[in-house]
Symmetry: C2
Subunit: 162 residues, 2 copies
Amino acid sequence: MITKNQMQIKAEPGRQELFVVREFDAPREKVYRAFTDPKLVVQWLGPKNMTMTIDYYDCTTGGKYRYIHTDPNGNAYGFNGVVHEATEPERVIQTFEFEGMPERGHVVLDSAVFDDLPDGRSKVTIHSVYGSVADRDGMIQSGMEHGMREGFDRLDDLLDNQ
Amino acid sequence: MITKNQMQIKAEPGRQELFVVREFDAPREKVYRAFTDPKLVVQWLGPKNMTMTIDYYDCTTGGKYRYIHTDPNGNAYGFNGVVHEATEPERVIQTFEFEGMPERGHVVLDSAVFDDLPDGRSKVTIHSVYGSVADRDGMIQSGMEHGMREGFDRLDDLLDNQ
């Protein structure tokens, strides 16, 4: 499916942050729920060839989450974090850590802002702040962008069918 | 009291992070407890002229905290965050938000690492990552450094008397 909603990623050289912007053909209330309700998140988050399993997922202020992506060869990739703020339907601020790093402690601070657009559409802006430029560049080189694009395309389908 | 343990702060121009380093005349186990046990934290954290009140304080992995500093004129300043990781006695990674900002959402990611030094001493390195350079510079200009220095001097006394 060709969609007009292409993900934009902005990562200036030498900085320890990046921005991801994606529009959706649904109001922000609906997109916010798809980002925060584990029954919906599990249907779209991550690359197409991965199976997502939720260990726990409480996306409310003070909550925490952990999930696992498993590829067709059975390799498992864990992710976890805590939720600093979840203000429906406008903003989620949470930490994020990929458990497959060579050492623990490489934590990202993600802020997702949900804005309404005309005609029942909306825009999500994710601001990710890393512990270092190297952490950010490593995340980009890991294929993060491809996985996010595929996930958002799946989310388009989910929003269409709800 | 003149102490040999001076706080060092490193904040390179144009970056959205800063580092604070402070040594203590106590092993890291003892310093870690002083940073994470609310009965101890309340005795030293913050400027000398402030009274600290704890709303809630659970510095364990997945926990959360909120406290209030009140100055002699009765002005109250609230702070809160969530704890991504607390690994005794070596590391705490948590979010931090000053509730007195003009708008919410200006969240800091703080990582504190506790290292032992020879002769029963230790060193704490705090790495703070901000949402923007402006947020970091604003925090520095707010008098953060002075308040931290006073707090650490009080912590020296607390560690001496334990």
